[in-house]
């Protein structure tokens, strides 16, 4: 309830309780002016206040009653029971309305016309009136008479002999609600102590429960069961005492915005929603500063000046919407402004200037990725430094504060429309939902907030785990998930390998990794206890907790573990140059996992992991020579093995590392000297390869690395591979295909394949260029396009092409990593005929064939 309204109700309740009494007394002693004044002032105050807070029905009744009382005070109306009846009726009506307001914060439906008419009758038509007063003059006259009346010394009302009546009791009971203290202040220390004590009680309860469970028949069973229930309720109740509405952290914000708008000459409305959303006081304290900071940013840099807003055709008053809501054990707070938004290009430019990312890499990053730079230390896009804040100044602090309490923060913006910052924070820090896992016989708790999913890997599915150069990865759907072995990371003693292991898929910021554990037990609400100072520096832990049976277990910190294992680059020293390359982003699939290997060629060589079927180590004796070729028995078939290095001596290394490729039911092995690593990079082929089998050279981990052409090797292995058009020469009759992809790598991969299949291929690096070609008059029989591209994406391109007469009916194929049904639907809606997963070459070639065939039939 609004504070103002609450105060009004409390005050009115006190006054009205007295009013009945006063009126009754007045009836008995009609000449007691002090009583009359007291009654008049009470009604007058109610009328004044309710008009102010917009209770119009109440105001109407009070106003009519006030006029009558004023007439009595002036001697125009005699104080009689008749007139007091009507005043009392008005008082009853006021009380009834107030009671309703207290419950619903709204006036009840209804009409007081009859009552008001009855009261007004006394003003003009009453035979008791000493002088007729025009009815319409009364409202004007009333306020004028207020001032002198207040100067009249009045005896305190309680000096009158009280005449208790049932009416008063009933009346006060009806309206007293808010005036009673229903809350009291308790020190936080006391609450913390309660929390600790309840925690101990819960432990004792657990031990008792276990003891009782060991006895066959126990007379303790029933009381213990009851104790159990009561303890649980108590724990919940104590936890609740620590909860506070988030509005408590917002109280200073309206004033802040008022002052900011005043200082800057802007007009800003602050709309607050969900102030009643409750969260733990510890969390509340932790978010107070970040919230204030972000709000400042929104007001200072988000909302434009009045003049600018007018030019932009927006309302002159900007709005900042602060909202909070519960969402599955978390509180989500949005700070949304309808201001200018953030120019992503400006951020991109700044990120390059600051050396956070290389220029070429920056161009390749998606807007969402670029916006994350705002949360980097020392990043500010504020064109001028104002005395309030620069957007971005301290945003790194905001992020680290939020992340410190296990929350996340993300920013989205639409240029010209506004910016929204979303904070997601846990409800409480004292109790978290945690997944209990076992590794090497020890139990650990993993906070649920970071857990995305659980994957159980039975022994027979071990092959889903790839081991490369000591690093292990799990193929999980389309994702290659780096694995972190908890036992190894924590250097736990090795026991017997379990029959199956589980992978807890964790999300930390943008990085996702799998934590390999032996067992997954269950989810529990655990009380987080801080660890002592001797182990505080260990980033692997977020704290510890005591389980039901009194054991202490460590709570793992997913972020710390990721950093320790090197899954995220947060702890890396010089990270600026490689940041863009190492950042993972599943939503945009901007990076590519690349397998690095050494084939004794001087430089390292690389192949996209998505093209790799398996990694094998094959004993030299298993490599058979036949017909000048090397073959190996592989899963029941004989597959050819070719050296990545033409000078490769097959038997020189035993066992021989072999990379297995599969394509179109053909499988081959590529013999290499050593597998080096798997890295996530944004693969950009910098120059063409200067010898066969090499697609080009890319800079990976700061080193020039040759990216091999798996197709070339497949052709070497299978002479008949694409035999029909070995050189890919397209004649004049060849169907013309436009291939659009902002990845040079994919262009390099797909274009030769399409040419080999007999198509005349034109490549284009972005949607804009593709549209320009069509507009210029280039004609194509089919268009293949990536979806995720800078500037003009695949969806837009499809719509644009459909709008062009020359391409309105040309088959369009989307090639993308986005495979959700939703994206598929969106793609088809945009005008694509087919929606294919990248790298499914079979599907690509057959689909092209089909579409072109049906097209020629139709034509």
């Amino acid at each position: 309830m609004d504070d103002l309204l609450r105060d009004f109700l409390t005050e009115s309740a006190e006054n009205l309780a007295k009013l009945d009494n006063d009126l009754v007394e007045l009836e008995q002693r009609p000449n007691e002016l002090s009583l009359l004044n007291s009654v008049f002032r009470t009604i007058h105050t109610i009328k004044g206040t309710c008009g102010f807070i917009g209770l119009s029905r109440l105001e109407g009744v009070a106003h009519a009653a006030e006029n009558v009382l004023d007439g009595m005070r002036a001697g125009r109306i005699a104080v009689t029971s008749d007139v007091l009846d009507d005043v009392l009726a008005a008082v009853d009506s006021i009380k009834a309305i107030l009671a309703h307001v207290e419950q619903t914060e709204q006036e009840p439906e209804g009409d007081d016309a009859a009552l008001v008419t009855r009261l007004e009758r006394w003003l003009d038509g009453s035979p008791h009136a000493a002088a007729a007063v025009p009815a319409d003059a009364a409202p004007v006259a009333a306020p004028e008479t207020v001032e002198p009346v207040d100067l009249v010394p009045v005896a305190p009302a309680n000096a009158m002999p009280a005449a208790p009546t049932p009416v008063m009791d009933e009346g006060s009971a009806e309206v007293r609600g808010p005036s009673l203290d229903s809350t009291l202040r308790v020190s936080v220390e006391l609450l913390d102590r309660l929390m600790n004590l309840v925690g101990e009680l819960a432990l004792d309860r657990n031990q008792l429960t276990q003891l009782a469970a060991t006895r066959e028949t126990s007379e303790f069973a029933k009381p213990i069961q009851h104790l159990n229930r009561v303890t649980t309720d108590l724990l919940e109740a104590v936890l609740k005492t620590r909860m506070q509405p988030i509005g408590n952290a917002w109280t200073k914000l309206p004033r802040l915005i008022r002052d900011l708008s005043h200082a800057s000459g802007k007009r800003i409305d602050l709309v607050m929603q969900g102030a009643e959303t409750e969260l733990d006081r510890q969390v509340l304290q932790a978010i107070q500063d970040p919230l204030t900071h972000m709000l400042r940013n929104s007001a200072d840099h988000g909302i434009e000046s009045t003049a600018r807003r007018r030019e932009a055709g927006k309302s002159e008053t900007g709005t900042i919407r602060l909202s909070a809501r519960h969402e599955g054990g978390h509180v989500v707070v949005d700070i949304a402004d309808d201001g200018a938004g953030i120019a992503v290009d400006r951020v991109r430019q700044k990120a390059v200037e600051r050396g956070l990312v290389r220029a070429d890499a920056a161009d390749a990053l998606s807007d969402a990725q670029i916006l994350r730079f705002i949360f980097e230390p020392g990043f500010s896009t504020a064109e001028k430094v104002t005395n309030v804040s620069g957007r971005g100044v301290g945003m790194d602090v905001v992020r680290s504060n939020i992340e410190a309490i296990g929350g996340t923060v993300e920013l989205s913006t639409v240029l010209g429309k506004g910016t929204t910052v979303r904070i997601k924070i846990p409800l409480t820090l004292a109790i978290i939902s945690a997944l209990l896992v076992g590794a090497a016989g020890e139990t650990f708790a993993v906070p649920q907030i970071g857990v995305v999913e659980l994957v159980r890997i039975a022994e027979e599915h071990r092959e889903l785990i790839e081991t490369v150069h000591g690093a292990r990865f799990l193929r999980l759907r389309d994702l290659l998930l780096p694995l972190v072995d908890l036992s190894a990371l924590l250097r736990l003693p090795e026991g017997d390998p379990p029959a199956s292991r589980s992978v807890v898929v964790c999300q930390v910021g943008e990085a996702r990794f799998g934590l390999v554990v032996d067992e997954v037990f269950d989810t529990q609400e655990v009380v987080v206890k801080p660890v002592g100072r001797l182990v505080k520096h260990l980033t692997a832990y977020a704290g510890c907790t005591i389980t039901g049976d009194g054991r202490v277990i460590m709570i793992l910190d997913a972020g710390g573990i990721a950093a320790l294992a090197g899954v995220t680059d947060r702890k890396a020293g010089d990270e600026s140059a490689t940041r863009a390359e190492t950042s993972r982003d599943d939503s945009n699939a901007a990076t590519e996992s690349v397998l690095l290997f050494d084939a004794g060629m001087g430089a390292l060589q690389a192949v996209p992991l998505s093209l790799v079927a398996r990694l094998e180590e094959i004993p030299a004796r298993a490599l058979e020579q036949a017909d000048g070729r090397t073959l190996v028995q592989y899963r029941g078939a004989l597959i050819p093995v070719i050296g990545a290095n033409p000078a490769c001596e097959m038997h020189a290394i035993d066992p021989r590392p072999v990379i297995v490729f599969s394509d179109r039911n053909r499988t081959m092995g590529l013999a290499v000297d050593a597998i080096r690593d798997i890295v996530d990079v944004r693969l950009t082929i910098e120059r063409r390869g200067d010898r066969p089998g090499v697609l080009g050279v890319a800079v990976i981990a700061e080193r020039a690395t040759e990216v091999i052409d798996t197709h070339w090797f497949l052709r070497q292995a299978y002479g008949d591979w694409f035999a029909s058009s070995e050189h890919g020469g397209a004649d004049a009759q060849a169907p013309r295909v436009l291939l659009v992809d902002d990845s040079r790598f994919f262009l390099g991969l797909l274009a030769p394949m399409l040419r080999a299949a007999g198509y005349a291929v034109t490549t284009s690096l972005d949607g804009k260029d593709a549209i320009a070609r069509v507009v210029r008059g280039e004609t194509f029989d089919l268009v293949l396009s990536d979806i995720d591209m800078q500037a003009v994406d695949g969806f837009e391109l499809a719509r644009a092409l459909r709008a062009q007469p020359s391409t309105a009916r040309v088959p369009l194929i989307a090639l993308t990593a986005r495979t959700s049904a939703e994206d598929r639907a969106k793609g088809l809606a945009a005008g694509f005929d087919r929606y294919l997963t990248k790298l499914d070459r079979d599907a690509v070639l057959t689909t092209i064939q089909q579409l072109l065939a049906s097209d020629s039939v139709a034509a």
Binding site: E442, K529, L534
Partner: protein, 157 residues
Amino acid sequence: MHAPVARLDAAPAATEFVTFRLADQWLGIPVLLVQEVLSSQRLAKVPVAPEAVAGFLNLRGQIVTALDLRVTLELPPRSSDASQMNVVVQHDGELFAFIVDDVGDVVTVAPTDVEPPPTTLDARWRSVAQGIIRRDAGLLVVVRVGALLAVDQPGPG
């Protein structure tokens, strides 16, 4: 809950010492620093913690960091079946349990009987020793709790 604990770490004015044994050596801590003595407790291991940290123990709902003083004082590890005791001390508002081989009597010593540690004492021991007390039963080394807690803290990990 606990009696006020005087900070005697720096001032050797205490006259009562809780004595405990590590291998053949008896050591003492001012009695006012000791909160309680516990028999062997179940410890929760804290992987990758400094070596001296033997684990955490649950003392009525409070987390106590247990330190094996044999590790701290570079003594050979005790045999697996050897008995051990926990001396729980409070230091800077935090509870620690020193794991020792045995706990002896509380001895009362006049301040003047506490002598500075001899320079011939092993460097590791000298860094924690506040003084020594000559007794009929042998030397009693008075140790500084703060120094015992100065465990090497390697970088995050």
